[in-house]
């Protein structure tokens, strides 16, 4: 007699507990954002955005941090996007089922879950020391590029897989070669999904600190990498790729770990800026995915 009753109670109570569990993380993050924004908001002004870091909390700003973030993101995408998409095309359109494709598959699954700091050790040894790039933007971008590569490959593969084979067959029937079919039909149709992956990779590259600390990104930096576009001949320069850098998460890490109250306020202000950027980017992903899902009813 006792047992069914127990289940009856569980039946009534579980939806409430379940709902609370489902929204728990969300509530905590809203609480976190509320805390950070109320702490950091008074510090947010134009001078904060265009000042270099300083030993005095009230004079310190995030100029080198956000400029460094842009440099790292651009380099990361240049490294990982083309190779990631090409790899996805190979795995979906060319690869036959064999031990090698199985190996590549397991390998990508593992790489997507390898701790970021391990990529930092790889970058430190391979790019900083063996290739002698030093603690430069290029070394950081290459390291981050390898780190986000699995994200781009996985989402590009999903996008390519969702294109129905009828599209390909129609193209072949008109006399197109395999590559023409991929380039003119498959890739354009899969583009929203591929871009979603790229944006997720950008979001990751914006927020990551550990691997860049490993390769020796500086925590105090009062200069910017040289601009790639010049006013005099030859109007461009690659010097910036070889300059030192810092980025937003590293700057925040540096400020959080200092004992003075002024710096934790700075950290809160910088986090506010970082979160705004990250949420805008993820909003774009959500919109893209939404449109994509609506459009993709073949």
């Amino acid at each position: 007699m006792n047992k069914p009753k127990k289940f009856e109670i569980a039946n009534k109570v579980f939806p409430v507990i379940g709902f609370l569990a489902a929204v728990f993380g969300l509530v905590m993050v809203i609480f976190l954002i509320y805390n950070v924004v109320t702490d950091g908001f008074p510090r947010l002004n134009l001078t904060f955005l265009i000042s270099f870091p300083s030993r005095k909390p009230l004079e310190a700003g995030i100029l080198s941090a956000w400029v460094g973030t842009i440099w790292i993101v651009v380099t990361t995408v240049m490294v990982s996007f083309p190779s990631g998409v090409l790899a996805a095309i190979y795995l979906e359109e060319y690869a036959k089922k064999s031990w090698m494709t199985e190996l590549i598959e397991i390998n990508i699954a593992n790489l997507s879950a390898v701790p970021a700091i391990i990529y930092g050790l790889l970058g430190l040894e391979l790019f900083v020391r063996i290739l002698k790039l030093g603690n430069s933007v290029l070394a950081g971008g290459l390291t981050m590029g390898l780190l986000v590569l699995p994200i781009i490959i996985i989402s590009s593969r999903e996008a390519i897989r969702s294109i129905p084979s009828t599209i390909r067959e129609a193209s072949y029937a008109l006399g197109a070669t395999k590559w023409q079919t991929i380039r003119k039909q498959v890739i354009p149709a899969a583009m929203p999904g591929i871009l979603t992956g790229a944006i997720l990779a950008i979001s990751r590259a914006i927020g990551e600190a550990a691997p860049l600390i490993m390769i020796g990104a500086l925590t105090y930096i009062a200069f910017l990498p040289e601009m790639p576009i010049k006013t005099e001949f030859p109007f461009f320069s690659f010097q910036g790729f070889f300059d030192g850098f810092t980025n937003m998460p590293i700057q925040i890490f540096n400020w959080v770990t200092r004992p003075q109250r002024g710096f934790s306020v700075n950290a809160a202000a910088a986090i506010t800026v970082l979160l705004v950027i990250v949420f805008i980017i993820n909003g774009i992903v959500a919109l893209l995915r939404n449109r994509y899902e609506k459009k993709m009813r073949w």
Binding site: A22, I89, L121, A209, V278
Partner: protein, 294 residues
């Protein structure tokens, strides 16, 4: 003019090379770690590395017992899993079995946003919000401790567990649920005794991935757990995890090439081996699950 067929073949080779880049990344990681770890073990005995209970490579009297760093990693991981696994799973069951399509469409993406918050932000949360709050409840709690970063990592990992478990639960065929209802089972009974066991390998895969993620998490523990390696399971005092140690050394002025510097590769190697086995296990569980239902 190139022959069309030659061009097509050439393109295939280029694409294959791109696909192999991911394999080269793994090979690179393994080679770098192996090479440096080999040099490390030329000086330090493996027995000391595995069984010594102290880790003090940066002190005058050096000990190389990795176990005390793994104590820190185990503590923070264990605490985070106490939060992430039950909440993630219960949330997943709710969204998959109880909520309607409209609620699900709003809830799931908003939960996935949590995964987008950079980890330094969670570190700030642990050190400057959760620790001071817990200190009001537990008076002898140290400013750096394992419990606060553990809790915050738990919150951070909920979306991974929840999202992946929910995918597995949802892909259990509807007919299995209907058979259960037809036999007079309630929704609760069906969810926990029929659907959950049916999706078990997928759920297990999500749990293992969550654990792997917690072991590898770096910034939260580097900010809020402290930098004192200890052979302890006390969550209230400062500890040091494997990942936090690696960050500590690379922020310091340890010269490259020294034995002290090689310790980060030995620590990294242990970390890589542990997470590698967890990741592969998770991969096979997920695959097994797909094989059953797709």
């Amino acid at each position: 003019m190139f022959n069309k067929r030659v061009v097509e073949k050439l393109i295939e080779v280029i694409l294959l090379l791109a696909a192999l880049l991911s394999v080269f990344t793994t090979v690179g990681i393994v080679l770098v770690l192996l090479f440096q770890t080999y040099e490390f073990f030329a000086v330090v005995r493996i027995r000391d590395f595995l069984f010594d209970t102290q880790w003090t490579p940066l002190f005058a009297e050096k000990h190389f017992g990795i176990i005390s760093l793994f104590c820190g990693t185990f503590l923070t991981t264990f605490i985070s899993m106490l939060i992430a696994l039950p909440i993630g799973l219960i949330g997943a069951i709710y969204i998959s079995e109880y909520s309607n399509e409209k609620t699900r469409k709003i809830l799931k993406p908003s939960i996935e946003i949590l995964a987008a918050v950079p980890t330094v932000v969670y570190g700030y949360f642990a050190l400057l919000v959760i620790t001071p709050f817990l200190q009001k409840i537990i008076p002898n709690l140290s400013g750096f401790n394992a419990i606060s970063p553990g809790i915050v990592m738990g919150i951070m990992i909920i979306p991974i567990v929840l999202s992946m478990s929910e995918d597995s639960l949802r892909s259990v065929p509807i007919s299995i649920r209907e058979s259960s209802f037809a036999l007079g089972a309630s929704k609760f009974q069906t969810s926990f005794k029929i659907v959950l066991p049916a999706a078990l390998s997928g759920v297990a895969a999500s749990f293992i991935l969550g654990i792997s993620r917690a072991i590898g998490e770096t910034m939260v523990v580097a900010i809020a757990a402290g930098q004192q390696s200890r052979f302890t399971l006390n969550p209230l005092i400062p500890i040091e995890t494997v990942t936090a140690y690696i960050v500590q050394v690379s922020l310091g002025d340890t010269p490259t090439g020294t034995l002290e510097f090689k310790t980060i590769f030995a620590a990294g190697m242990s970390l890589f081996v542990v997470t590698f086995f967890l990741n592969i296990l998770s991969y096979y569980l997920k695959k097994k699950f797909r094989y059953v239902y797709e």
